[in-house]
């Protein structure tokens, strides 16, 4: 599939992307944008996505839509959210390569597989249409955070020469899996569990920090 060039103009964006540094630049100041600010912006977008998914699921619980309609609506919103999350990690639409879209698609497929299981459990009565179903739907709204971190990890490994990573605990209650992963310290990039693969699932607020060399051995400064 050949993707068309995305029609965006530097005149319409207040930001640039520094590919070497892997950072957004505020064009009005020339300064890097903190990735924590990018993540916060993504969180706001994901909140909007969560509202849509909650609405669709409430429609199902109330008997206003069929299971297939619900599943279709959720699939659409999952794709929108993960597409935006992937691009936000990679520096924007114009910086996404065919391979980057392929990687994003794989993460979307994983969510679709889980959603299919969810839908089947609703159909056979294993999952009741109650508040728990709404909470479970919320997990899909949080999942793009994991796509963001995986696309960042992909860029750091493939384009930025980073070879080590460590888990940074976010501002949240931490599950044992995340505490254990953080305790591992610096490890070869790509070997620590992905964000979303812990017991806390997609509620995880952990992030990664990267380094070209192992700071534990060399004492070098790292990249965020």
């Amino acid at each position: 599939m050949t993707l068309p060039s995305i029609s965006t103009s530097i005149m319409t964006s207040e930001f640039g992307w520094n590919e070497t540094a892997g950072r957004y630049v505020d064009l009005s100041t020339g300064r890097f944008v903190r990735f924590s600010d990018v993540r916060d912006a993504l969180d706001v977008v994901m909140d909007a996505s969560a509202i849509r998914m909650n609405n669709i699921t409430q429609q199902l619980v109330d008997g206003n839509v069929s299971l297939a309609e619900w599943q279709s609506g959720m699939m659409e919103q999952i794709k929108i959210a993960h597409t935006a999350a992937g691009a936000s990690a990679r520096g924007g639409w114009a910086q996404m390569s065919q391979a980057d879209w392929g990687a994003t698609g794989r993460m979307i497929r994983s969510q679709y597989e889980k959603l299919q299981g969810f839908a089947e459990q609703i159909a056979d009565g294993t999952q009741l249409l109650n508040g728990h179903a709404l909470m479970r739907a919320d997990l899909y709204a949080d999942a793009p955070r994991g796509t963001f971190e995986e696309m960042r990890r992909r860029y750091e490994r493939l384009s930025n020469g980073m070879q080590f990573e460590r888990r940074i605990l976010g501002e949240a209650d931490h599950c044992d899996d995340c505490l254990d992963a953080a305790d591992e310290g610096w490890q070869p990039i790509g070997t620590l569990p992905a964000i979303g693969d812990s017991v806390c699932l997609t509620r995880c607020h952990c992030t990664f920090e990267y380094s070209a060399t192992n700071p534990d051995e060399e004492g070098e400064s790292e990249s965020e």
Binding site: T20, T29, V38, V44, S66, S88, G105, I108, R109
Partner: protein, 63 residues
Amino acid sequence: MPDKRVPLGKPLKFTEKQLRFLSEVSPADIVKAQEFWRNAAPDEFQTLLDAQTIDDQEDEEEQ
């Protein structure tokens, strides 16, 4: 008034091949995601994802 609930019906069931196809990001998907980001993101970051690659700037500092 009778309860007019829509019948639950069956879930959508896809093969692995179909899921692979459905999960591909198409140009139309990108346009939807662009619109969603621009409408949902905080005001100061609405154009963030429209960023273009720029040259390295020696005086870039972290905000």
